[in-house]
Amino acid sequence: MTGLLLGAGALQAKTPIFEIEIRDHLFHPEELRIPADTKVKLVVYNRDSTPEEFESYELNREKVIMGGRKANIFIGPLKSGVYPFFGEFNPKTAQGRVVVE
């Protein structure tokens, strides 16, 4: 998909990458600190066998990650602040936040 756009590879090379895991319907880590005014790429690994959805109205993102798969989620540039996210399939346990500083 990224190959559809010329120069996308060069753009991605400059994008900081952060990783999150979903295990036992929890996000690890629950808190992710990222720099302000910078676009970042979250690589979310779902280690559970069931699907989960990374969802955040504050981040304007929702993405289903199938069991045993990973997904790339691009967020930002963002202003300083706390941006909560949760797993829509397990909203009571799968909760986290992105702290932009």
Binding site: M1, T2, L4, L5, L6, G7, A8, L11, Q12, K39, P51, E53, Y57, N60, R61, E62, K63, V64, M66, N72, I73, F74, I75, G76, K79, E88, F89, N90, P91
Partner: protein, 240 residues
């Protein structure tokens, strides 16, 4: 997306606005599509427009209803089938057409300067040999809590009951993401018999995992002599 490609798309938007003779028959006021697919999602949708008067045909209180059932068939592809009904002041509600559409998400949200996708539609009028094949480029850009969306459409209309014709259409939406239940927006639609703009409210109520009720309601005011003075549009969508 490269700045040059983005400039070309914006120029295409301007050309669509500047060349009304090239544009679509009838009102193109409907809804604005976003270039995203939510994997595993099913969708039951009803949407409708009510125009006070359709100047080209003279029909009053013209209503169009669409009832659709859709499903994400992959991470990036969503398909939906519709029944389309029509009703006016002088006639009852009747089946007008069938339609199938496919939305193809082509970029990850936020990955490039603009998110983009494609929409394909095939429509067949009921009891008449009139076919309509459409494609639209869907673009969206996020500016903090604001989102700007553009749909640039190209349609071929043909069949033994109509002269072959190429048509274009443009729909724009500027939306403020105030809260999930309340998102005010401004929309603009342009086509051969349409030039209108107006306010729309959008919202969503979560009902559970992958289950939500979405709604949209607005009034699009006609900006030229061929567009109805006002068109009310509404949408209810149950996602599951």
């Amino acid at each position: 997306m490269q700045p040059r490609a983005f400039s070309i798309l914006m120029l295409a938007c301007l050309l669509l606005l500047q060349s009304p003779r090239l544009m679509a028959d009838g009102s193109v006021i409907d809804k604005v599509y976003h270039p995203y697919v939510e994997q595993l999602e099913w969708e039951l949708e009803w949407r409708a427009t009510l125009a006070d008067e359709d100047p080209p045909s003279g029909e009053e209180r013209l209503q169009l209803h669409r009832l659709g059932l859709g499903r994400a068939v992959s991470e990036y592809v969503f398909v939906e089938a519709y029944l389309i009904g029509e009703q006016s002041a002088g006639e009852g509600l009747g089946l007008e057409a069938y339609e199938i559409e496919m939305l193809w998400q082509l970029s990850e949200q936020g990955e490039h300067i603009v998110d983009y996708g494609l929409l394909f539609e095939l429509e067949k009028e009921h009891n008449r040999d009139i076919w309509e094949a459409s494609t639209a480029v869907l673009l969206e850009k996020e500016f903090g809590r604001f989102s700007a969306t553009a749909n640039l459409g190209l349609t071929f209309e043909g069949g033994s009951d109509i002269a072959d014709e190429w048509e274009t259409a443009l729909a724009l939406q500027g939306r403020y993401r105030y809260s999930p239940r309340f998102e005010p927006a401004l929309e603009m639609y342009s086509g051969e018999d349409t030039l209108g703009a107006g306010p729309v409210l959008l919202g969503l109520e979560r009902l559970g995992p992958l289950s939500a009720l979405k709604w949209q309601a607005g009034v699009i005011f006609g900006l030229d002599d061929t567009t109805a003075d006002y068109t009310v549009r509404a949408l209810l969508e149950y996602e599951f």
